[in-house]
């Protein structure tokens, strides 16, 4: 490990390239089926964040910064919170109470059903995913001095 921030060996990088998309797909499945099965926005968001962390661990900081555009993630996190608030206030405007389910409910056990709940699940998933990733990213940005040396 001569170059810090360059990531791990070729084996780890190759395996990560194949598995990260499967992990992310599983997270998206958990989010989209949040109103039917156990799971939902929080659990799926954590799984997608772990996929992003896999990339960060395997490929290093420099690659991830170029590939993900961290500033965009900060804006996405704030935006998802605002969208959640807007949907809640729309509930006040249309049905009279905060977060009221104003859309058509649809049939039970269908994928497209339950009104605003899948939308809220997706918004929460984005928020949790980006938030968790940014937390660990900020921890990784600390500069650790060498053992015994003073900074």
């Amino acid at each position: 490990m001569k170059d810090k921030g360059k990531g791990m060996t070729l084996i780890v990088k190759t395996i990560t390239r194949y598995t990260v998309w499967l992990i992310a797909l599983y997270g998206i499945y958990i989010i989209l089926h949040g109103h039917l099965t156990p799971g939902g926005g929080f659990a799926g968001g954590v799984i997608i964040a772990l996929a992003l962390l896999n990339i960060m661990l395997a490929y290093g900081r420099e690659f991830t910064r170029k590939w993900l555009r961290i500033n965009l993630l900060h804006e996405l996190e704030a935006t998802s919170a605002i969208i959640f608030l807007i949907i809640g206030i729309l509930g006040v405007a249309i049905s009279g109470s905060f977060l009221a389910n104003f859309l058509h409910h649809g049939k039970l056990f269908n994928l497209v059903s339950a009104g605003t709940i899948p939308i809220l699940n997706i918004v929460i998933g984005i928020k949790v995913c980006v938030g968790l990733f940014v937390v660990v990213w900020s921890l990784a940005l600390f500069h650790i001095p060498k053992k015994g040396g003073t900074e």
Binding site: P38, L132, V136, S138, L139, F142
Partner: protein, 112 residues
């Protein structure tokens, strides 16, 4: 009844780690164990013999289910634990930057 005692023993394991370990990372891990024992206690309170989980799925009859309220509470608690752990790790990293060690007996003097 025995499971509650075991849960309390798990809490004591975490407390032992917090009180006796010198390494900051081990202290943070012990604190996590204490939090887990609290979560486990709430979940065990909500458990019911032969209960199903509180989500109705296709082709299933509504039956006696476990109490979903503590589970929602524990989900919130897990999120708060995540925040606490992230903050503690950030503080530990800052201390490592200043003192070059995680040993709390060596972190004594002011260091610029």
């Amino acid at each position: 009844m025995i499971i509650y005692v075991l849960c309390f023993i798990l809490l004591l394991v975490g407390l032992y780690g917090v009180l006796t370990k010198r390494d900051l990372i081990k202290i943070i891990l012990s604190l996590s164990i204490m939090e887990y024992s609290a979560n486990l206690f709430l979940i065990l309170f909500a458990y019911r013999q032969d209960g199903v989980f509180a989500i109705l799925s296709k082709g299933e009859q509504a039956a006696g289910m476990v109490d979903p309220l503590p589970q929602a509470l524990v989900l919130t608690s897990i999120v708060i634990e995540l925040g606490i752990t992230a903050m503690l790790v950030a503080l530990a990293v800052r201390l490592y930057q200043k003192y070059n060690t995680f040993d709390i007996t060596k972190i004594r003097r002011l260091s610029g």
